[in-house]
Symmetry: C3
């Protein structure tokens, strides 16, 4: 079973919580024990499991990556000025595979699923959600 989640992003760098959307797809599938793979297309976006108690960790993620991978100093900037976005996306990675346990997403209390936008705003980011049954 495979579905596409579409989101739009309004920030240049920002995290977008898609946990509820993935959770609904898992419920609808009826799978009790398995895996859900969440994959974001686009070489300047990524996927991260992170806390969502408030916005602080999300802002910390953006600030950390800006410090480690500053804009404007990369060879690729001569092409289209987004070298930092590609590097952030490559390091964080586009996908996570999360267990389905007793018919539900196997996240712990403080784990949420975020799309990381590193070169927004974008009208459309596609997230491919693929589920398989291991029951």
């Amino acid at each position: 079973m495979q579905e596409v989640i579409q989101i739009s992003t309004h920030k240049h760098n920002g995290l977008y919580d898609i946990t509820d959307k993935v959770s609904q797809i898992v419920s609808k599938s009826g799978i009790k024990s398995g895996i859900v793979n969440v994959y974001v297309q686009g070489a300047t976006a990524a996927l991260m499991i992170q806390e969502n108690w408030d916005d602080s960790v999300q802002e910390d993620v953006i600030n950390l990556l800006k410090k480690l991978i500053p804009p404007g100093i990369w060879l690729h900037d001569q092409q289209d000025s987004n070298g930092d976005a590609h590097l952030k996306a490559g390091i964080v990675g586009p996908a996570e595979s999360i267990p389905i346990i007793d018919g539900k997403l196997g996240l712990s209390t403080w784990q949420n699923i975020f799309v990381c936008e590193f070169d927004g705003p974008r009208q459309r980011r596609n997230v491919i959600v693929t589920l398989y049954n291991c029951g």
Copy 2:
């Protein structure tokens, strides 16, 4: 097939090798060709494939992450003083999917599976091990 490995951690930051436990689950499953997904719950822990010839690489991992993501300077520290732990967990990531080849874990000689604790000690960390057959 799905099983839970429980570990306790005694360090604030430390790597814990769970390769043998995952390997036993793979053997027990009888799966000859497939995938094992290893997923650690908790937004301040992560999973890393790394060498375990001696302790040196594990200490280097802790020292590297402390240098790149120092404690005490994050917005989230105003909530519960563990902003660095969340950031380390998000960058390293909670899961890996490893091939099962000829009925065994498809790791190479120097690849081991480690739970990374970034906010210990903790009495209990849950690692979800999910296997599927692609034979």
Copy 3:
């Protein structure tokens, strides 16, 4: 279904595009909807999804990792002088799981699959490609 891609590397640090090889395996499998797991063995190599419009992003990846994880300052260097290679491999990670959509690799236009060599040259790096059907 499971296949092995073998590559040789000629640089000490370098990215090697294996997208075409993985794509051919997906086509051959006949799977319309599923997942392909790509896993590189060896604790000093890794796998990254990254742009391949030209060489610039690949060089930026190598330069970024050299800056964040410089050689020659790690405990493990006393064993075999490649502490930085292990750390890079651990942070980037050995695997990605990519959706198969309508019988094709579900990468977007600018996403390619690279083996990252951090301790080359090596005559042989094994990449395990495992596919499963979720149709």
